[in-house]
């Protein structure tokens, strides 16, 4: 039994705690208020804890780097930028709550987020209601700029349709049209597989596949099925850790001798964490750091590495682009009001030092989707540099892969 003389000790503890807490809470708004006159506040909600934290952290890194860069050059509309980061903890209720907090209490002008598309969608309902400009840096499901598109929401990363349409012709050309899908059974997985099927059948392909639970850990049953089907390509649509395990088991069973491996996204954060044998297959990168022919990229990567000691991934780029897009839209609209920012952003083309890739990169007006290049290529163990795990084979312009606005199902309703 604990011989802890409770009564006096605990009471003092509580009093001290309450005093401390109260002092923080009471002074906080005054501190915020004092700065509020000057800075432009941008709120970023991302799942910093939970299974998506590695990706979320990269987005935050990119956004913070951009914040510093923007402030060094004078800020937005002559005011310094303040990036407020909140953790959505991969939970919708928390994400929505934090969004409300950022808008109601902290008076942010812009909201960024979330990596988790379900949360991004729920957040967009709040931002739409409050007429706040909202950019989704990295949440992938199609409806955000498709059937659920909103006048105040823009997206940096690609739709699943874009990613699947970009890589399919390459895979068919190289390996063949008989495919096998391993897909997680939820909205994102379904939209990936549907995208692939659409692109594949256009080229006359055939397929079979399995839907597995999102957190499935053992793939042997489905890999056996795949082997029996003898496809040209196996599509690994699983995400996060399950994607890694699927790769591992595929290689463990020696299936790479019988068929090629591919899919949509295999992100740098994930690739670096796996053993060399699992660094394989054909994938899309939504942005890639190694573009020796583009001077802006070389400069950016060098400076980013110096500042953060890591090589930027697509996620870092998403955060970076989101922040700069706000700056560019604000400068064009000369205002921070939601509707004005939104109309300034439509069809806005990113300058080369923000786009960081060749070609015209713009936010399409019809669905508010950014149209960058999609880097299709092959993943391999590091050559020299530990980040050199991907070789770009071909770059597909986003607009080519995206299809028309009508096909996305977006019917934009303008603000009243």
């Amino acid at each position: 039994m604990a011989k802890f003389n409770a009564s006096i000790g605990r009471r003092t503890l509580i009093k001290a705690g309450v005093a401390l807490g109260a002092s923080q809470v009471v002074t906080a708004p005054f501190i915020i208020g004092a700065r509020g006159e000057e800075s432009v506040k941008i709120g970023l909600v991302d799942p910093l804890t939970g299974v998506l934290s590695a990706l979320a952290q990269s987005e935050v890194d990119g956004a913070k780097y951009a914040e510093a860069e923007i402030n060094k050059k004078g800020g937005i509309l002559g005011r310094q930028v303040e990036l407020l980061v909140e953790d959505s903890a991969n939970d919708v209720g928390t994400g929505v709550q934090k969004t409300r907090k950022l808008i109601d209490r902290d008076n942010v002008s812009v909201i960024l987020g979330d990596v988790n598309s379900g949360i991004a969608y729920a957040m967009s309902q709040v931002t739409n209601e409050k007429k706040v400009f909202h950019i989704v840096p990295g949440g992938h499901t199609d409806p955000i700029t498709g059937t659920d598109c909103k006048w105040n929401v823009f997206r940096v990363c690609n739709t699943t349709s874009m990613d699947t349409a970009a890589i399919t012709p390459e895979l068919v050309k190289r390996f063949g049209k008989k495919w096998f899908f391993i897909t997680p059974d939820y909205a994102y997985g379904h939209s990936l597989q549907d995208g692939f099927i659409k692109a594949l059948t256009k080229l006359g392909g055939t397929y079979e596949g399995d839907y597995l639970p999102i957190n499935n850990q053992d793939f042997s049953a489905t890999l056996i099925k795949a082997k029996a089907y003898a496809p040209n390509v196996l599509l690994n649509n699983m995400g996060g850790l399950t994607q890694i395990n699927c790769m591992k088991q595929f290689i463990q069973f020696g299936m790479q001798k019988d068929m090629a491996l591919g899919g949509a996204l295999y992100e740098l954060e994930t690739v670096k964490a796996v053993q060399p044998e699992a660094q394989a297959g054909w994938w899309d990168m939504e942005w890639w750091w190694d573009q020796p022919k583009v001077p802006e990229v070389v400069k950016f990567v060098g400076e980013y590495r110096a500042a953060t000691k890591k090589t930027p991934s697509a996620r870092d780029w998403f955060g970076y682009v989101a922040m700069h897009s706000v700056r560019l839209a604000a400068e064009k609209a000369k205002s921070l009001e939601g509707p004005k920012l939104a109309s300034a952003m439509e069809d806005m083309e990113l300058p080369p030092e923000v786009a960081l890739q060749p070609g015209k990169v713009r936010y399409r007006a019809g669905d508010h989707e950014l149209m960058p290049n999609i880097f299709v290529g092959q993943c391999h163990p590091p050559k020299g540099n530990p980040d050199n795990v991907f070789s770009v084979e071909v770059m597909i312009p986003g607009e080519q892969a995206a299809g028309s606005v009508a096909e996305t199902g977006c019917k934009m309703v303008r603000p009243s």
């Binding site: 939970g50 934290s53 590695a54 839907y211 639970p213 890999l223 850790l241 020696g254 994930t270 964490a273």
Partner: protein, 289 residues
């Protein structure tokens, strides 16, 4: 067709073996101390992370041997520091305590080792596959089963034939009498807790070879362990063993027939057992009820 069934059964036993190891540790702690160790999944992760730290120094085999012991040591320290204070109190407190502990351990792992998944280097002999034409089994899976079998046999032998084991079993049935007979119950419980954490840590090292290492890895394995215990019968270690194998096989067979349902099936089994035989398949009436 028969081959497919055979394969899935084997696969199920392999998955089940793994659940068994996790669930046995949880069951030990539950039976003797009446504490649901919510942090059990975190001890699993801890075992994996310790192996990750040790492997460069001691090699894989050394890490396999030492990290469960280290995990057990940490478990013992935590038990002495705080967990023993909630024995005998309303179960709400032990649940909240281990729940809070789980949060702290998970966040600590994420803070210290980072959110990115990590790997342990396995000896090449384990990575090879046994046969990739018929059975998709790598030597690693065989190895895992072998370790589990050895551990389970060792555990049951320990409980049956050693004095400490006897005391633990007696304590599960009637702790008061055991104390009255002069056994140091405090020490017994601490040892028991350590033993449970040892099993969790071992599961962690084995899991790392299969799944890789990340701070959340214990979460997905905690629920199947609970279910294995309830289905097998609370209070019965043999029941836990059987329950773990049953749900492993069920999950594997479902994965072959209706893949999307392979997670839900273990809950279906839980429901059926609760409806038909609420005390569990091998549970004894009166045990913790």
């Amino acid at each position: 067709m028969i081959e497919l069934i055979l394969f899935n059964l084997t696969n199920g036993l392999i998955i089940g073996a793994f659940y068994v190891l996790m669930a046995l540790g949880l069951s030990l702690i539950l039976n003797l101390s009446n504490v649901i160790n919510f942090a059990h999944g975190n001890f699993l992760a801890l075992g994996g992370y310790l192996a990750f730290m040790l492997a460069p120094v001691t090699g894989y085999w050394g890490a396999l041997l030492i990290s469960p012991l280290l995990a057990a040591a940490i478990g013992v320290v935590l038990e002495r520091l705080m967990i023993h204070r909630v024995y005998g109190r309303d179960p709400v407190y032990s649940l909240l305590l281990t729940f809070g502990l789980a949060f702290v351990m998970q966040d600590a792992a994420r803070w210290y080792w980072g959110p990115n998944p990590l790997q342990i280097d396995m000896p090449d002999v384990l990575k090879a596959s046994l046969s990739s034409s018929l059975f998709f089994i790598t030597w690693y899976r065989v190895f895992m089963v072998a370790i589990v079998v050895a551990t389970v046999v060792g555990l049951f032998a320990f409980l049956r034939y050693t004095r400490v084991g006897l005391r633990i079993r007696a304590g599960t049935l009637d702790l008061e009498t055991v104390a009255a007979l002069g056994v140091n119950v405090k020490l017994l419980r601490t040892f028991n807790f350590g033993l449970g954490c040892l099993l969790a840590g071992l599961s962690g090292v084995l899991a790392t070879g299969q799944l890789g290492l990340n701070p959340n890895m214990g979460d997905d394995l905690l629920m199947p362990s609970f279910i294995a215990i309830i289905v097998g019968g609370v209070g019965s270690l043999a029941g836990t063993l059987f329950g773990g194998l049953l749900i492993g096989v069920a999950a594997a067979v479902t994965a072959a027939v209706y893949p999307a349902g392979s997670e839900v099936v273990i809950f279906v089994i839980l429901l059926l057992v609760m409806l038909i035989r609420p005390r569990g398949l091998m549970g004894e009436e009166g045990m913790l009820s």
